[in-house]
């Protein structure tokens, strides 16, 4: 995908591809995911670096929206970046059309949330956990499913916490379906005919 990078005050954004906009919030870019998504969507990768704190990340996210001029987008965030993405999805409900949380660390395994009003998320949300996640129990997904009004909790078999590395194709498959079809991603679209 053709891309253009810009250094922001609190991080770096890379933009490429065409189609509906997807903001991908990452600590470090996963090239497979970025490249594959970029073939179908206008992907804005927001790289915030390993040491950025939540305030910086929130600012970077807001700045990325202003710099690119994109007003409506889907937001994808992994692991410890999920709380910022959730907060942004609530604050910018008019802009965030769908939300994908990959192995989110916004709720502790004991069920205590980090003071996030998950009930206020307006966007249809896909929450993914790997069945072998040892950082945060995949069962935590149940809590998102109960609290987010339109939530799709999905387990990625045989993946650990880093789903995008362990099973990138499985992640892309479900994520692209969700980005394309939102709530209707549950409806199979492919044909099962053997010899039509």
């Amino acid at each position: 995908m053709k891309s253009a990078s810009k250094d922001l005050s609190t991080g770096k954004i890379t933009e490429g591809g065409s189609g509906n906009a997807v903001f991908l919030l990452q600590r470090a870019p996963n090239e497979t995911i970025v490249d594959q998504l970029g073939r179908r969507f206008r992907v804005v990768t927001i790289e915030v670096g390993p040491s950025a704190d939540p305030t910086d990340v929130a600012r970077t996210l807001a700045e990325a929206g202003a710099r690119t001029g994109i007003r409506k987008y889907s937001l994808v965030a992994e692991s410890d970046l999920a709380p910022v993405a959730i907060a942004h999805a609530i604050e910018s409900a008019d802009s965030v059309e769908t939300l994908i949380l990959i192995a989110p660390q916004a709720i502790r395994t004991n069920g205590a949330s980090k003071d996030l009003p998950l009930e206020e998320i307006k966007a249809p949300t896909l929450v993914l956990f790997g069945t072998r996640d040892e950082v945060i129990a995949p069962e935590t997904g149940r809590i998102y499913a109960r609290r987010i009004p339109c939530c799709f909790y999905t387990l990625v078999y045989d993946a650990g916490h880093d789903i995008s590395t362990d099973r990138p194709q499985a992640l892309l498959s479900v994520a692209c379906d969700f980005l394309d079809n939102r709530e209707k991603f549950v409806v199979p679209a492919g044909s099962s005919a053997i010899s039509p």
């Binding site: 993914l128 069945t131 997904g141 149940r142 499913a145 109960r146 799709f152 909790y153 999905t154 387990l155 990625v156 078999y157 045989d158 099973r167 499985a170 992640l171 498959s173 479900v174 991603f185 549950v186 199979p188």
Partner: protein, 388 residues
């Protein structure tokens, strides 16, 4: 030690058994014999329940008269209505080749119908059976593992969820009714290979071993217990099942006669011929031959693919003799393997129905009461250790 009756719903007329090869052509199936067979099987289950058997089991098999339970869930559903006390043991569905969510729904429903008496064992299937639903044999180990974990999840997950697997994809899973036993009924995993025993231990499944001779069973259960210990848990004896054939007679001499005739007709051997030979099945012309090494036919172990004669585990009456002899054999077997549940078949080619019936009655009256205490002490020890 607990005892389970392996209820095969075998076809009652010998005619189709004379057919060489698998599958058996449906033209041999006569409606009236079909009805009689099912009535007889359910009656046996009822009698076993009243006689004190702990479990009544059934198992998925396809296209053959000896085991007429292609959908074991349907047969188990019938069992729930005639077996009032014993557990209903689905040992088991061939999860490598069916829809795992459908299996989870059936298990939950069976648990409901039985009032929380279900136990289930996930099996991979024998190579001939992979042909029934067109599954690539090479993928069946991985499919079995994934399907088992998906079923486990579907039975215990309180929220609707999706599953992005390697072989199975479901965007919406929400099993209803939920199981009566929470978080789920006791679940077992096929343990006929070292790899499977490791998988069972890693995922807290019980272990089901079938037909191997005792030294190999001991090797498998030993490995399983070692793997469980590594992962911080210890299985109870009743979490290890062994399926085998058993024959009891009034005297050892009579029992020896049964032993020598068992499999004389080599009826089960025919299921490895015909179309089934396309998947490299072993020829078990001499069904009494012991397996050479641990591993399944699906892995190419114990097969005759190299032109040699293969051994297969279910070649003989593993426990055979008068009641005293059988009690001693089972005691030694338990001591050696730690197995706490015997899933027993009393029938088989070469034995008359009368011999099978007498064997069944003698076991219930003369053997079962005397093997009850086996394993009880170690079960108490396990529970005490767990409590600490």
């Amino acid at each position: 030690m607990k005892a389970s009756l392996f209820c095969t719903n075998s076809y009652l007329s010998p005619q189709p058994f004379a057919h060489e090869g698998w599958p058996t052509p449906p033209r041999f199936s006569q409606p009236e014999i079909g009805v009689q067979s099912a009535e007889f099987a359910l009656d046996q289950a009822r009698i076993a329940d009243e006689a004190g058997f702990d479990w009544i089991s059934c198992s998925e098999h396809h296209y053959m008269p000896g085991l007429q339970t292609p959908n074991p869930g349907i047969f188990a559903g019938a069992l729930t209505q005639v077996v009032k006390r014993a557990r209903i043991a689905l040992l088991g569905p061939l999860v490598s080749m069916t829809n795992p969510v459908r299996t989870a729904e059936e298990l939950a429903m069976l648990d409901q119908l039985s009032g929380g008496r279900l136990v289930a064992l996930f099996l991979r299937g024998t190579p001939n059976e992979f042909l029934a639903y067109g599954v690539n044999p090479k993928e069946t180990r991985a499919r079995t593992q994934e399907a088992s974990l998906l079923i486990l999840r579907a039975l215990s997950e309180p929220e609707p969820f999706g599953w992005e697997g390697r072989y199975f994809r479901f965007r919406t899973v929400a099993v209803w009714p939920g199981p009566i036993q929470r978080p789920h009924p006791p679940l077992f995993y096929s343990g006929n290979s070292i790899e499977s025993a490791t998988f069972a231990a890693a995922n807290h499944f019980g272990l089901g071993v079938s037909f191997y001779p005792p030294p190999m069973v001991a090797q498998l259960t030993g490995h399983y217990r070692e793997q469980c210990e590594k992962r911080g848990w210890r299985p109870k004896p009743e979490q290890m099942i062994y399926r085998t054939f058993l024959g009891v007679a009034e005297s050892d001499k009579e029992a020896d006669g049964m032993r020598s005739r068992f499999f004389g007709l080599a009826a089960l051997g025919s299921m490895f011929r015909g179309r089934a030979s396309a998947v490299g099945m072993p020829s078990i012309g001499d069904a009494g031959l012991a397996p050479k090494e641990i591993g399944t036919d699906a892995d190419g172990k114990n097969s005759a693919a190299d032109g040699g004669q293969a051994g297969f585990g279910f070649g003989g009456l593993q426990f055979c003799g008068n009641p005293d002899t059988v009690v001693r054999q089972i005691g030694e077997f338990h001591e050696r393997t730690g197995i706490g549940v015997l899933d027993l078949s009393f029938g088989g080619a070469g034995l008359t129905p009368q011999e099978s019936q007498r064997s069944f009655r003698l076991f219930a009256s003369e053997v079962l009461p005397r093997i009850r205490s086996l394993g009880a002490e170690s079960a108490v020890h396990v529970e005490a250790t767990a409590a600490k």
